[in-house]
Symmetry: none
Subunit: 141 residues, 4 copies
């Protein structure tokens, strides 16, 4: 089972709404499936044009490594050359910072990941978690 | 002026609805802005995982060349080496077939492009046009 | 649900056995999951060193396009520039010839793909089908 | 002489069995030949999808540099820019951490390498050594 389009829409809408409530900068949100492939994406008006690549890098890396962005950042800070090498084998597509959140269903199975970008990395992660809860899934930062 | 997120959502929702009405295979739809950068994307449940790349290739090529996918295909059939070379300079990111539609506003200015994939290329283009009309923009195939 | 390691082993062993029975050249067989990610691979002694990339290209393209290698080849022969463009958006990782076989479970859901290479493309496909049947899955060429 | 498929199977099976005995996380194991080309690979059920790339990066770098992952890590910690540059010339395909183990036959000749990933790097290396011993080859970490 992978995240459905209906769940992805819920995650994105609630994350964007939460961002506006918190008065964050214009956010962009991607949802990828359990294979790291894009299900849905939205970029808020006013966000810089390159947001898809960053949001995608957070979510894609999270699925490929089975580890949320917050944990990836700790690993990158502990062992920079390891995360650099990991990025090499994934074609430079991994963005190891908070805002990438692993998605699990109620039984604990990985069903995809969310990537949020636009504000501070910690705010990006908070907003992702709000979206994930609204969709009745479980997030792992 | 570029297409807004609100317009992109309208295009995607109406295109997907039109696809279901026409009983097409599960569709995927991307909207890119006037710089070819992703604004929004949705992949229907049941579509193969690689749909983002193909939808993106249709829309991205359409913006970069200022020419819809139907015209690009005519060019590819007339002069295959030219489209191959064009793809070289754009990093292989152009998919020159119907389903890529140039987006103009009411004054004729290019504001982005739509890329639809999932059924026959001609059905993909028809569905893109339905979405574009619903958003009160003008499509050029 | 994706193909399991146990199913992948069965497919590979039976495909290699079938190849020896048919007295084919040394074969290589990969099984990828529903996201196109490698589950298992074996290269027979005596096969050239580059077999992983070719087997992978057959299986990966099959999952990403939701279409077996035999159908991909027909598309490539009908519309060469389209398959060339598709390969561009997938980073040159698609090998559109027989021997890539889509894997479905008994309910019809795509659970991965098999890629076989080493003999003629048609023999590669036949051997893939033999392995798939032995694992009680359904193959689509 | 390169590692044979039969030896590669033994290494993989014993490494995976050892990992289960040690109650490690789900492991993935690759065996490459003396030219760094894949002979066999298996990914345990429940491991993240990106494991092939990491296992391969450990084994490939080990063969190309003629140096196991543990030694590569020492080099990366002593001289990070050197390993970064090495990765540049090998297209980003080298993962310089424990779990990459050089394979020698009884006469000391390099016949390939093993790459294990899934648990801590040290556990990955221990499991690789267990597999290599079962195949009557000599490992160099």
């Amino acid at each position: 089972m992978s995240v459905t389009l209906s769940q992805a829409r819920k995650i994105i809408r609630h994350a964007l709404t939460k961002g506006r409530e918190m008065e964050l900068k214009p956010l962009s949100v991607v949802v990828v499936d359990a294979g790291g492939h894009v299900v849905a994406f939205e970029r808020s008006d006013g966000a810089p044009p390159g947001r898809f690549a960053i949001a995608h890098g957070k979510a894609y890396g999270t699925v490929m490594l089975g580890m949320g962005g917050t944990k990836q950042m700790q690993r990158a800070e502990d062992q920079a050359y390891f995360m650099a090498a990991v990025n090499g084998v994934f074609g430079g597509q991994v963005v190891p910072v908070p805002g990438g959140v692993l998605l699990r269903n109620k039984t604990g199975k990985v069903v995809g990941a969310v990537g949020v970008t636009g504000d501070t990395s910690d705010n990006d992660a908070a907003v992702a978690m709000a979206g994930i809860e609204a969709a009745a899934l479980v997030g792992e930062i």
